[in-house]
């Protein structure tokens, strides 16, 4: 089976078209999401056709809807050749319905699988180093073309497909994507299992980081969060102490909780100036602030705050080869045993805009949602 190796040349061929129609949720532009009929893709050589079972709505989807297109291309994407309108959905799991010519014999129709949505060119400098997530031309299935999980069918390259163990249900498998973001961040950060950690923000990614830290036995997980509901989630998912930046001095509290020194590592899953300022000072000498948040503008930085304690700052982006396998294994063996609680609502494909996007935007639910498009599916 071919995997996302990065330094392997990839065949980035779009799926062939068919004359059949299917239903899909497509993003046309700002505040323009349509549930419509589009051409159903056919399964080409080296490709796998999947019936998506569950698909999560991500903060990135909401950003695109409210203020985009930002990440979604408006001119042909260098790899997919597609631009808006594009099918949404990059956090999804489903069942194999057809296997293209030449794919590994280990796959069978009906297999339960999850899709790792990174699209990459395989030959830029980053890809040559195995960093497909940093590919200069990168994109995502469900944001940059090749269809998305919010459709009745999707065809993806074999390298994007990961098998699921029997004890990982398809709805939970739709959480692998956001969990992999947190898992990857913890993986490449300097975090060691005895370290104390501050997580800024208790949204889906913050919660993914909390769970990844808990899975590794982190003895001190602090979460800084304002919203009451998210504070509760942070606690439920494994934070040892939840701090409220509107009521407490985060820097003083972190130092106090760590014997006067501050935390070893902080993860910024909020992306706001004030939080970043606090996190820099809450990190001990030679500690690191890890940014996962997407920022849409510049911040003010006072580099001397880094100098005088030799602190570091690093960025992390999505996930690489290995992260999906590790997250799937951690779900299967119980290290991520609380993750199913991230699913706070289940809807059908025709309800995506009204019951999905609007619910998340209006804040009725502040957490991951999954979309049931196949009621009665047995796991």
């Amino acid at each position: 089976m071919s995997t996302q190796d990065g330094n392997n040349a990839v065949e980035n061929t779009p799926a062939p078209k068919s004359d059949k129609q299917m239903r899909a949720v497509r993003f046309h532009g700002k505040e323009d999401l349509r549930f419509e009929d589009i051409e159903e893709p056919k399964c080409g050589a080296g490709q796998i056709k999947i019936v998506p079972a569950w698909c999560g709505i991500c903060g990135t989807d909401l950003h695109e809807y409210m203020g985009g297109p930002n990440l979604c291309p408006t001119t042909p994407h260098p790899i997919t050749g597609e631009n808006v309108p594009l099918t949404f959905g990059h956090e999804f799991a489903g069942r194999i319905e057809e296997l293209g010519e030449g794919v590994s014999e280990s796959w069978k129709v009906g297999d339960r699988v999850v899709v790792q949505p990174i699209i990459y060119d395989g030959d830029c400098g980053a890809c040559q180093d195995g960093l497909i997530n940093c590919c200069t031309n990168n994109g995502f299935i469900g944001l940059s073309g090749w269809g998305g999980g919010l459709a009745e069918h999707i065809v993806v390259p074999e390298y994007a497909v990961y098998p699921l163990p029997n004890n990982v249900p398809l709805d939970v498998a739709a959480l692998v994507e956001p969990l992999a973001v947190g898992w990857h961040a913890v993986n490449i950060s300097p975090f060691k299992p005895t370290d104390s950690v501050l997580v800024l923000g208790g949204g889906p990614i913050g919660l993914a980081v909390v769970q990844a830290l808990r899975a590794r036995g982190c003895p001190q997980i602090f979460v800084s969060e304002v919203s009451a509901m998210r504070k509760q989630y942070a606690s439920d998912f494994g934070a040892h102490i939840v701090l409220d930046p509107t009521k407490e001095d985060i820097v003083a509290r972190c130092r106090e909780l760590c014997g006067g020194s501050g935390v070893h590592v902080a993860f910024d899953c909020a992306g706001v100036q004030q939080g970043m300022d606090q996190a820099i000072l809450a990190v001990r000498a030679r500690g690191t602030l890890v940014n996962i948040a997407i920022w849409d503008k510049h911040v003010k930085l006072w580099p001397n705050d880094f100098n005088f304690r030799e602190r570091g700052y690093m960025g992390v982006a999505t996930y690489v080869k290995g992260d999906y396998e590790e997250v799937i294994k951690a779900i299967s063996d119980g290290r991520l045993d609380k993750c199913h609680k991230m699913i706070t609502k289940r809807i059908e494909l025709d309800q995506v805009l009204d019951e999905g996007f609007m619910t998340l935007i209006n804040g009725t639910f502040s957490d991951e949602q999954n979309l049931d498009r196949d009621i009665g599916d047995t796991y």
């Binding site: 980053a126 960093l131 940093c134 030679r286 006072w302 580099p303 030799e310 690093m314």
Partner: protein
Amino acid sequence: MAVPGQVATDSSAKPMRAARFYGKEEIQIKDDIPRPVCGEGQIKVEPAFVGICGTDLHEYLGGPNFSPTSPHPVTNEQCPITIGHEFSGTVKEIGKGVSDKFRVGQKVVVQPTVYCASCGACKVGAENACSSGGFIGLSGAGGGMSEEVVMPEISIMALPPNIDLDVGALVEPLAVAWHAVDASPIADIKEPKCLVMGGGPIGLAVIQVLNARGAKLVICSEVAKKRQEFATEFGAHHVVDPSKEDVVARSLEICGGVNGPDIVFDCAGVPASVKASCNAVKSRGTVVNVAIFEKEIPFNPMWLTFREANYKSVLGYQRKDYLGVLDALGKGTIKPASMITGKIKMQDLVKEGYMPLIHEKDKHVKILVDMKASM
């Protein structure tokens, strides 16, 4: 244990001469400064050559910033304070309990780091990041521009016999560079390719240390003509002028067109150098900030995030860095003598030292104060 930056004085002894910083644009040469006492575990050094550092100029032009205006937690001193933290000298007196490695008259350098030896940073061996830290010559407890300095044995290191005392005064800026290069991932990279932003004294020191530490390729980005020449002289393989060329595109091209530099050292410390550093470094590469900034800067986390790059800051040096530089000097892998572009007397400190460094900074790398000639 003797704490670096804590020293007793002897009011009954004949006072000594020293250059003192009082505040913005005020430096005085005084003859009534109490002499330090060489206590247990300490060594008294007679300074020979003292370098003038950018930090000294910053204090003079806009300070006191770094220099304490209330009693420093370790030295207990505040302005006025004796100037000079980059210096060499000879051993004048050896305190009780000092090891037999030292003898009177020996050529030495002084690591000027002041630290408390008890805070969290000190406990994890990051004494340079001590929460009460400082430097003699900036934070009290004496300085190189005086007749005598007393520090604990741990802060004093022998100069290799083949190295002159004037070159000894360059160990401090070279140790800054050594520390920065040591903190970078250079040791883990095969044939490391590096970009150095800025060809001032620290940039030039980084270029030399990179060559001594096996960098495959060293690019320097610098605007001033004279500094570009210095950069080449000290070992930069390519010099890029950021006022004429796109540093990000040029460094990518020089590195072979596939990936940018593995490591970028920001020794310029301006918003443009931060942005260029972050955008030039390869995916998962490291930007090491060596510069001290005067104000906050605009920064975009996405410069680093989409390429998973690292930004880390370093400060000063540790004893290991001094030892690394001294070893490289002894072996001849660093030959920094031509960094010395002037030697002056202490009496002329402002006129012939600070002023040329402020107004003709391109012409100079290091101006040293010759202490023997100043007494």
